[in-house]
Symmetry: C2
Subunit: 349 residues, 2 copies
């Protein structure tokens, strides 16, 4: 049996910890190092940081280049940020060392949505250094793009696409809740939108561009709207309290138009305790075409564990791909990894 | 603008005609020839044969090798048969001429399910002649395999998978209805099962092996059962009459076991006019895992148009792939082709 696939973890927050716990369960994978941005984490043992009762003998490290040179990973899983600009330093360094990268940074799911020149440069760098880069996650990366694209595969023609993802923010921590404006008065929510502290969902641009590229659709513009979901009742989580009349979350929608026709409509209301307002969570994809296709799931695919699983499950796909920058629609689909991951990897590592 | 992608059609029955009508709508594709097995079709114009009101200037041809040499296609779409043995002569001849092949023959969706040596030999032949081969269709090829595999991609672990496809056979012609035992008495249905004229669904073995290979699951055995769906009432289509007490269709199920645990359960009741028995058609996929995933669609994705669309929509995926034999889970997912197909093809033709 050949040696394990050497995995480097970047980020040890909630998502990084979830990724690590999944990767540790997989035969044929070995976490060989863990990078943390926060200097106060340096030297801590990964096992403790991700909530295990034992040490793993993997000390968190703040110097990425030194860590790369010491542990020589085959693939890195990045869970440190959301934005392309913020992700790019780490990704470029990994790529220059010839290491494949799977990132859950939302804007990495389709970098050209943010910047065509950056995407081209990153693709060139990846090919030059024989590295493969892909961004993944539940959304962007799966529900609003890969799954939609896959379902259009049965269509001879498509007139329009509508997808809705209604989810529950209750399990999330302060940074997600704040970015969705949870707990804010209507005025504070409006101010948060204006000053950029209330963001809503990150990924509509990426999902829409992935769909359009896969289908060959040309669009003129994307219109996004964000509005508070005002609560009728008191709601609370361990991290936040919402008074009646204040925002329990954010209803964020994006419409992609050609002329005055909305070709793609993506609707994503996110709030804490939606059940208190009688709201049923779920994912719905509706394709108006030949044939019509409609798929529904309730409750929604839970975003946290799904994003962590996708990052791990893409490992064999990325190791098998030719060097370059990919979106999830450019590679074979991920699958749950239930056997030895090495058996799924075709090329020599 | 470079020249169109040259498409050769094999088969001009109901499915071949559907494929042709879709391919004719796509920018960047050109049907350059049509092969028919039936000698009485030789010389007929494809346009008339597929139900258009006009000639296309494409005469049906019975000599495949001669046709290949005359029209020099880039890709061939095979809609002539269901079984691997029956498909192999045409596929091998195309491959030896370096032509990519997309087949809707059910057993081509995962040839190793039928014969590992044949699959290996076909893969070797494809690589030797720089051709790519894939089998597709709604089922096998999509609902019971690609879609299930894709959905497991969000799972950290999977305990079991259950999928049900309840569909309506009313639109189908005599050969499909006969293979499902529609109109037979219970005794005649049992005899049909025994003598192989009642077949039920072709593709359970292929779908199960595709799932197991993608997930790395090992199974001991697959158990299939077929039983008549006996009608309480009179039902009829233009091609068949069903008396009360006789079979309106076939309930075909397949279970894949490890030890005594059913890891995969696929349930596929097919009958004419299910609504007369109060049966709601639809597709359901349920994954018991971390997280649980359940998706539902009603009515079912219609099999006829979906299979034809998948065959056409896979063209850019197959043209882009490295030479070899693939299943649908080995290539990037298909997407509806709404723009110029040539823009999706990366390599020189």
């Amino acid at each position: 049996m050949r040696d394990p696939i050497r995995v480097l973890l970047l980020g040890t927050g909630q998502m990084g910890a979830g990724i690590a716990r999944i990767a540790l369960q997989k035969r044929g994978l070995q976490i060989v190092g863990a990078y943390a941005r926060r200097s106060q984490r340096a030297g801590l043992d990964l096992g403790r940081v991700i909530g295990l009762e034992r040490n793993l003998g993997i000390a968190l490290h703040n110097d990425l280049e030194d860590l790369i040179e010491r542990v020589r990973p085959h693939v890195a899983l990045q869970a440190t940020c959301s934005r392309l600009d913020d992700a790019l330093g780490e990704v470029s360094m990994l790529v220059r060392h010839g290491i494949d990268v799977i990132s859950i940074a939302e804007e990495l799911s389709h970098p050209a949505s943010r910047s065509q020149p950056i995407a081209e440069e990153l693709g060139r760098l990846a090919r030059e250094h024989s590295a493969t880069v892909v961004g993944t996650g539940i959304n962007p990366g799966f529900v609003f793009d890969l799954l939609i694209i896959t379902l259009t595969g049965v269509c001879a023609d498509v007139q329009s696409i509508t997808a809705t993802r209604v989810n529950d923010l209750s399990p999330y921590g302060p940074s997600v809740l704040n970015s969705q404006g949870v707990g804010l008065s209507p005025e504070a929510f409006a101010n948060g939108l204006a000053n950029g502290t209330v963001v809503g969902h990150i990924g509509f641009q990426q999902s829409i561009h992935m769909i359009c590229r896969a289908l060959g659709w040309e669009i003129d513009r994307i219109a996004e709207t964000r509005e508070p979901i005002l609560s009728q009742s008191y709601r609370a989580t361990p991290f936040i309290k919402v008074e009646p009349g204040d925002a329990a979350g954010c209803l964020h929608t994006a419409l992609a138009y050609r002329d005055d026709t909305a070709l793609i409509t993506l609707v994503h209301p996110q709030q804490i305790h939606p059940g208190l307002a009688g709201v049923r969570t779920g994912d719905t994809i509706e394709i108006s075409g030949t044939p019509n296709v409609r798929l529904d799931g309730s409750p929604e695919i839970p975003g946290g564990v799904a994003t962590c699983a996708l990052a791990v499950n893409m490992i064999p796909r990325v190791l098998n791909a030719a060097p370059g920058l990919y979106s999830m629609a450019d590679l074979p689909v991920p699958a749950a990894l239930l056997g030895d991951v090495r058996r799924l990897v075709h090329q020599a590592l």
